[in-house]
């Protein structure tokens, strides 16, 4: 890195992070994206909109989420003091709700009566169904058939919340196919429908606005670290599927040069097996779902199937800002495989009494390796992006237990 970029200046006016990002969609959606961008740029500096957002985060989501020092786990790992940013304690059990609160406010300002969402693990679907219930909006959630099977508890939660869950049977029947189907719905119902994208991918302005809504995580963590640890952390670790919890944690720290950052992708069976979901580790730049970013694709530019024990990380792309942060060297992107994530899931549950989501367990798995390489006076923050209740059936399956 020759010169430190002005991180706040990205994306540029047309939604680019260097060569990444942009707005690659069919013509029918261009007007809707223009309208959304105009509305968002107007509202984001509107004190009333910010006040409404902050109020909901405090009183409905339960923010700020604690920054918890995992003393026993830190001691066991022997090295840095490990802190957990407790997004698992948010209403609905994950960081996803920070963003759906924000986008639902946008939908209301734009007078849309119907919202749609895609979901992988179901956390974003639940968070969308939740805000839709609260605002009395019609909600349709697209979910791959494979994910419906492995996340059936969340499917039922969405139904109880009044959302309709639409099974997606095309392609690999996971998150990417759910996103294709949500785009198809949006193009058909663009006049009355707001598409709540759950991650920092998709066409501009989504990567920007989802990042802005999720940045509450990093703003709080920065303040809490200064207060509780007396200084900034030495390292941040977060899992990366599309990358919304990671960008939310990282973004407010980007200018703090002493803070190292690690985004942890899903290595599935292992990055060298080809059966994984780690485009930043083993992919190359291409265009999918409206933006240019690192992708998992074959030599002909066809998107290939991903593999991860965690439905929320099972995605062949990644948010364009992560691709840029990788290329400029600001964030290190590493990977943890299924076995490492499961081991971390079990360990945190037993040692700290906190059951993490399998997605977050990937971040924990890397923290397990990183902490022992650091000094006892150093601090490491792991984003505990969600709780693990939804994954109990998956883990029970692996353990050979049937209910």
């Amino acid at each position: 890195m020759t010169e430190r970029p002005d991180y706040k200046a990205f994306p540029d006016q047309r939604g680019h992070f260097g060569q990444f990002g942009g707005r690659f969609v069919s013509e029918t959606l261009m007007a809707a994206l223009d309208e959304l961008e105009t509305m968002y740029r107007r509202l984001k500096d509107d004190p009333q909109f910010q006040a409404d957002f902050d109020y909901d985060l405090a009183h409905y989501v339960g923010r700020p989420s604690p920054l918890y020092l995992a003393e026993r786990w830190s001691e066991q790992l022997g090295g840095a003091r490990v802190w957990l940013k407790r997004e698992d304690l948010n209403h609905t059990g994950a960081h996803k709700v920070n963003n759906t609160i924000g986008q639902a406010l946008l939908a209301r300002h734009m007078g849309k009566k119907r919202v749609i969402a895609e979901t992988g693990a179901g956390q974003h679907g639940v968070a969308s169904a939740t805000v839709a219930a609260r605002l009395g909006l019609e909600c349709h959630v697209f979910m791959g058939e494979e994910d419906i099977r492995r996340q059936r508890l969340n499917v039922y939660r969405m139904k109880l919340l009044g959302a309709e869950v639409i099974p997606v049977t095309s392609g690999s029947r996971t998150l990417k196919d759910a996103m294709n189907e949500a785009m198809r719905d949006w193009v058909t119902n663009v006049d009355d429908t707001f598409y709540i994208i759950g991650t920092v991918a998709g066409p501009h302005p989504y990567p920007m606005l989802v990042r802005d809504f999720q940045s509450v995580i990093g703003r709080e963590a920065r303040e809490q670290s200064l207060k509780q640890a007396g200084k900034l952390p030495d390292a941040l670790v977060a899992c990366v599927g599309g990358g919304s919890n990671a960008i939310g944690l990282f973004h407010p720290f980007l200018e703090d040069e002493g803070v190292a950052m690690y985004g942890v992708e899903a290595a599935g069976d292992g990055v060298d097996t080809g059966r994984h979901a780690a485009p930043l580790n083993a992919g190359r730049p291409g265009v999918l779902h409206g933006n240019r970013t690192y992708l998992m694709e074959d030599e002909n530019g066809q998107i290939i199937e991903t593999h991860s024990v965690s439905a929320g990380l099972d995605y062949p792309g990644v948010g364009p800002e992560h691709s840029w942060l990788k290329d400029i060297g600001r964030v290190n992107y590493v990977a943890a495989d299924d076995q490492e994530a499961l081991a971390a899931f079990r360990e945190l549950t037993r040692v700290e009494g906190i059951m993490p989501a399998l997605e977050s367990a990937h971040a924990l798995a890397y923290a397990r390796k990183l902490a022992p390489t650091m000094g006892a006076d150093q601090n490491l923050i792991v984003n505990l992006s969600g709780r693990g209740d939804k994954d109990i059936l998956t883990v029970a399956d692996i353990d050979g237990i049937e209910f």
Binding site: R14, G22, R23, F24, V25, S26, E27, T28, L29, M30, A31, A32, S170, G171, K176, D177, N180, M183, R184, V187, T188, N189, V190, D191, P285, G286, V287, L288, H289, G290, L295, E297, E299, N300, G301, Q302, I303, I304
Partner: protein, 267 residues
């Protein structure tokens, strides 16, 4: 003059409208496509749109999604599609061929390589569904230098300002998407289409093809009264799907649908 431009000028002289069939290349296998292209020309096609299969066809409905799946299952790559056009050109030097698809396979091949390959295969135009004019500065000059037309979509939601901009980036013709939705969706409203086509004519100086929602001879005829060309895709791909098990039946089935449309348009 490009083949596409020459085609529209000739049609204009003859007082006819362009019939523009779309099929996905390599569906259901790689041997079927070129014979079907020749059959479509014999049945009255003026321009052929050849779909490049993609794993994630976000703008397409179930009919063309399944066509992509069959073509990819058969191993069809962008290289194969270009090879099909080369083969088609051995017997047909006049009918314009447009490749239609998504950006990523082209990115994977590289713009420069792809543009060269289009020229040597005899491809006349390229339509990349997820490449709007805002993102195409790198692409337009490469195609323009080589005389390959870059065709863009105009939608019911496109503002007048964008139509002007699209008109400047595009050449060959404009593809007006007749409805909000994916390919093969509900029926179009001819009066609405007529009004929009009129608006587009006043803002851009290119022939206008209309597609999405054209199912049969009656809708092809109605659209041909207001537009310069009629694009028909899912109705043909349905015939391919229905005959995927007996590929000899594909060309006659596709030709029958097209021939009906042709005669209705020429009435």
């Amino acid at each position: 003059m490009s083949r596409i431009q020459a085609c529209f000028e000739q049609l204009n002289t003859d007082g006819r409208k362009a019939l523009i069939p779309f099929i996905t290349a390599g569906d259901p296998n790689r041997d079927v496509t070129v014979p079907v292209m020749h059959a479509m020309v014999a049945a009255g096609a003026d321009i052929i749109e050849l779909g490049v299969p993609f794993s994630d066809p976000m703008a397409d409905g179930p009919v063309i999604q399944k066509a992509c799946e069959r073509a990819l299952e058969a191993g069809t790559s962008l290289h194969d599609v270009l090879a099909m056009v080369t083969e088609f050109r051995r017997q047909n030097e006049d009918t314009p061929v447009v490749l239609m698809g998504y950006l990523n396979p082209v990115e994977a091949m590289g713009y420069e390589t792809f543009a060269d390959a289009c020229v040597s295969a005899g491809v006349d135009g390229v339509l990349l569904v997820d490449l709007p004019p805002e993102e195409c500065e790198q692409v337009v000059p490469r195609f323009r230098q080589r005389g390959v037309d870059l065709i863009f979509l105009v939608a019911p939601t496109t503002t007048d300002e964008r139509i002007r901009r699209i008109g400047e980036a595009a050449s060959g013709y404009l593809y007006y998407v007749s409805l909000k939705g994916v390919t093969g969706a509900a029926s179009l409203n001819v009066e609405e289409v007529a009004a929009r086509v009129e608006t587009i004519r006043n803002l851009a100086q290119l022939p206008i093809g209309v597609g999405f929602g054209i199912k049969d001879a009656a809708s092809a005829q109605a659209v041909s009264r207001v537009a310069d060309g009629v694009v028909v895709g899912s109705a043909l791909v349905n015939q391919i799907a229905a005959n995927a098990g007996q590929t000899d039946a594909i060309a006659p089935a596709v030709s029958a649908v097209l021939a009906e449309m042709r005669s209705a348009m020429d009435e």
